[in-house]
Amino acid sequence: MPRSREGSPFTGLGPVFLKEFADHLSSARMMVLMLFVIVFGAFPVATSLQTLRTVVDPNSFIFLRIFTLESEQVGISFTAALNFIIPLMAIGLGFDAVNSEFNRRTLSRVLSQPIYRDALLLGKFLGGLATLAVALVALWLIVLGAGLLLLGVPPRGVEVARGLSFLVVAIAYGGVWLAIAMLFSVIFRSTATSALCALGVWLFFFILWPLLAGALLVGLAPSEIRSMDDYAAVQSMGLGLMRLSPGTLFSEAVLGLLSPETRTLGPMLPSQMRGAIMGAPLPFDQSVLLIWPQVTGLIAGMIVVFAAAYVIFQREEVRA
């Protein structure tokens, strides 16, 4: 029997996307999340601005330093705060995407309209991602505006370009966590369970994984390091393990973009040092090239997790 189905899988994608987007933007949850982000983001930015006002060096990337400066009072930079907060926001937006429809008994009614499940899941994902993007863009503009007011110098074009790329990376990073949260919302019927699991993954990557990766490396590495090559191999293995965490990919990409003097994200090889002036910034396109694998990794991770959610959702029974 031919099983191929007819009609576009994207039928109805627009209405689902718009509804999800509108629901998120008007929800109390969104208010709480925004408050959360602003509070967490404001401290590092305010303190780094305090510090930067005393720096007078027109050639340094002063606007980018707002994002990356780790001030002594707070001990955390704005990007490090985002590294931590973006997953929380994405989980907050996605943990009940599908199971709440199920619990409200709206799922079978909506799916009895002429749409495929594909459109419902993708529309929900894009709606969440758009909400996240709106929040991040707003935050980015606030930081930039505060910088303009307090520093009194306009950002240079290359700083704006790097800042915008940073925004794109941040949204992709949010997308990974949104996909993870939605995956759990498809697997578990209970919203509390799916929220717990998503938060568990978040804590795992932030607290447990660095320790676990270290332990794994000790187990996997050769017992004796005889040459430079052995050492480099161990180093890259350790990096590879750490890069399984989306947070690592995000912080490396941010490092490459916002600290233009970054030349490599791994161990510095002598060949890379040849002819380099220490502390000289890389051109923008070279920095993008440097972080390209990280960005690709984030987007690939997002797609893989979303695909898993998609496959499970297709097999799920609609009935209670």
Binding site: G7, P15, S112
Partner: protein
Amino acid sequence: MADNVIEVRGLLKLYGAQRAVNAIDLDIRRGEIFGLLGPNGAGKTTTILMLLGLTETSGGTVNVLGFDPVRQPLEVKRRVGYLPDAVGFYDHLTARENLVYTARLLDIPRRQIDGRILEALKSVKLDDVIDKRVSTFSRGMRQRLGIAEIVMKQAEVAILDEPTSGLDPHATFELLEMIRGLKKSGVAVLLSSHLLDRVQSVCDRVALFNKGNVALMGTVVELANQVLGAGHPLQVEASGVDVAATLNGIVGVQTVRQESDGSWRIVADRDVRAAVAQRIVSAGGALTRLADLQPSLEEVYTRYFQEARHAA
């Protein structure tokens, strides 16, 4: 055959080794109200979901309005309205906003949306709460909003899963009126229920489900004849006379059974009411009640499942 809106042949659904729906055949005709009856777990909802393409079939063919729900679910779902068991709406949205979302999913032209929603809500008497949040709605109002969605959709077939479960008698009555209204506007209605006397009052034909099989199918009278045996059951209440002896010899009377003091149940193969009345009165008895018992679906249902259990 052209008058069938739904044709099901050998429809099969397996959950592991269990046959949830066991090769059933069904035909739903245009403009009729068809009832799916049976205990919980008999396969009614599974059948409905397969008709809509919301659950994969394990075998057999389904044809809904000329489309195959497995391969052309969008075409089927565009033309068929579905009211799930205990339907849910988005609580934080108003009745109008909920229907606007559905209208967008249906790709109804923007200019028509407002008019169609208002008309649909009027037909279920919810137009006065059009801008109230659904969270304030009672169960009955939600079910009516579900009917409004089907009206707005201008569906050719309405599939209602347990539409009256959990409703009070008044709300049930109102909902059944609306289901009749759907039929009047030419919509074929397929409804599942275990509330038998309610179903009996609206259904043209019924199918009795049992363990994934269609045990019986036809009009209520046909079913009664099949299960209870052909004949006219009568109830007689009289005093001052031995009814059983008096009725002896009336042509057509098959059995006379005393049900309680002063009450008898008579089964005849034709209408013998006039003769019965005459005999009792002329014997000097006081006839207080002589009723033609309509075959009740409940009786059919109970008897059938009793026999099914005995057979098992």
